[in-house]
Amino acid sequence: MRLLALALHRLVWFVPTVLGLLVVTFVISRVIPADPVALVAGETATPAQVEALRRELGYDRPLPVQFADYVARLVRGDMGTSLFTRRPIVEDLAHRLPATIELTVVAMVVSVLVGIPLGVLSALWRNSLLDHALRVVTVSGLAIASFWLGIMLQLLFAMRLGWTPLNGRLQGFPPQSITGFYVVDAALTADWATLATALTHLALPAATLAVPALATLVRFTRAGVLDVMQSNFVLYERAMGLPRPLIVWKYMLRSALTSTVTQIGLLFGILLAGAVVTEAVFDWPGIGTYAVSSILRSDYNAVMGFTVWAGTIFIVVNLLVDIAHTLVDPRERA
């Protein structure tokens, strides 16, 4: 019951935060530009066409009315129509969502599976060669521009060595669609050849996306474990003669991971923001590529749709992380 109350308490903050995000995007799209309708209409439109469009879109009404209308439409899932594909933006985004989720989840899983153990080892063997090497890797991982890392990986592995494809998500026809995730669909239909090409296509973009997240995770896990190592309960467990692996991998990790769980929420932000440029580099047919090509085509509605979508997802994930945090840490439940 306490948990339910807590979840509800967080939910109360969710609505004003999303509403605030909508105010920000509304201001960016309708208030900042000198004439938002002219932007939508494009450079070739005549003044008469612009005026007609202004009435059609309802941009001649007072701003508060426009905002209420904007929110009402979004609640119904209407983000407007893309100026380029001429389809509802929600449809465009939904169509591309599985590709982005597949890429992001793989990058997240890789960074968690590699980053957390490395962080623990780095803390346990403090000042060892491994610790110093990992420090160089994490400092570099946070300083590298992900779009450049992606291009360098393409240059080395795709162009020079020819080990991986240059870009795209698949070669040949996609597997029979069950979940929309090619890796899962190919495995479910036992289509091993497709699975293999899906995985080789994933390798470079997932690695590019995982690097900054991995660096963050190693850093925080190391700091968390070092902090816990000094604590009284670990001293007590050692005095009790508990086996070291049990102390390290069960009790210490559990305690150290509470801060890491919060980090995973932030990590998701890194991944989402990184996906925009990473997808653009690898022509990955997800929402990041959609956002970037919309920028290049001045498809102004689609860019705003993407911003609202990405912002909302990020806020939802942080909400879930908050709740997960209380589940992992018994102290929070008291």
Binding site: P16, T17, G20, L21, V23, V24, T25, I28, S29, I32, P33, L39, R126, N127, V139, S140, L142, A143, I144, A145, S146, F147, W148, I151, M152, Q154, L155, M159, R160, A223, L226, D227, M229, Q230, G269, I270, L272, A273, V276, V277, A280, A291, V292, I295, L296, S298, Y300, V303, M304, F306, T307, A310, G311, F314, I315, N318
Partner: protein, 288 residues
């Protein structure tokens, strides 16, 4: 002055902070002395089609680009843009974020809550996403990139300053100064600000690295200053169609971004260790 000297000496003892300082010094030197250091200073605007895509060698240390311009010389002039974007964007974020944090921290009530809620909304969305939306609306140009980055970065300062100011209010010396009848202005300027300067400086250094990285991404996406500006992110985007042959064209600006951001990150970490022993204990072991 002696405080700054003390900090510098402590930084110089920390090897990675020293490396950060050296990298930043090199960047500043490159920007200031670009016309002197450049081997082909006119190549920022001049075209030499006959010399396009030459490999690195005697005359062109880092090769030439698609216009036949010297990559090394353009890189130096690009450092000016990078510093300009970083300094103005972080400076503007400081000018907005610090007062907002101070006001929200000093006064208690609905207005403070509102200020912090507004900054939470900005923090709730990845910076790149909002900056893309703003830069796209305003059109690609240098001032617009700086504006987009400032509008999205100030909440970080507001949050740090707010938390520190609220923490200080529990301190006895602040409470007694207020009890003696010091005005909010005097209290803030003479007692609060000097005591929260360290976390602000640390955040500013890390913010420089972060802002420069985001600016490069915006440039790469075509939202930065238009050509022929030698902005590093845009240069990388331009170089892509000439891979894998003209590898130097894509490699050089990426390395420049990498070293610059690393410089500010290392300096930020080092400053945190020197200026704020409390934070040091939280992130690393005491004997580390």
């Amino acid at each position: 002055m002696s405080a700054a000297w003390f900090v510098l000496r402590r930084l110089a003892r920390d090897r990675s902070a020293l490396l950060g300082l050296i990298l930043i010094a090199l960047l500043v030197l490159a920007a200031l002395l670009a016309p002197v250091l450049a081997t082909h200073p006119d190549d920022v605007f001049e075209l030499h089609p006959a010399k396009r895509l030459r490999a690195p060698g005697g005359e062109h240390w880092l090769g030439t680009d698609r216009m036949g311009a010297d990559v090394y010389s353009r890189l130096l002039f690009g450092a000016r843009i990078t510093i300009l974007i970083g300094v103005i964007a972080v400076g503007a974020s400081l000018l907005i974020g610090v007062p907002v944090g101070l006001v929200a921290g000093h006064f208690h009530g609905w207005f403070s809550d509102l200020l912090m809620r507004v900054s939470d909304i900005f923090l709730a969305v990845p910076q790149v996403v909002l900056a893309i939306a703003i830069a796209q609306t305003l059109g690609p140009s240098l001032p617009n990139v700086i504006l987009a980055l400032s509008v999205t970065y100030w909440p970080w300062f507001a949050r740090v300053v707010y938390a520190e100011t609220r923490g200080l209010q529990k301190e006895i010396f602040i409470e007694s100064t207020a009890a003696l009848g010091a005005s909010p202005w005097r209290l803030t300027a003479l007692h609060v600000l000097p005591n929260i300067a360290s976390p602000i400086i640390v955040r500013a250094s890390i913010g420089m690295g972060f802002t420069i990285l985001t600016a490069a991404a915006l440039g790469f996406l075509g939202l930065g200053p238009p050509p022929p500006t030698p902005e590093w992110g845009r240069t990388i985007a331009e170089s892509r169609e000439f891979l894998p042959d003209a590898w130097w064209y894509a490699t050089a600006p990426g390395l420049a971004i990498f070293l610059t951001v690393m410089g500010f990150n290392l300096l930020g970490d080092g400053l945190r260790d020197v200026l704020d022993p409390r934070l040091r204990r939280a992130s690393t072991a005491p004997d580390d």
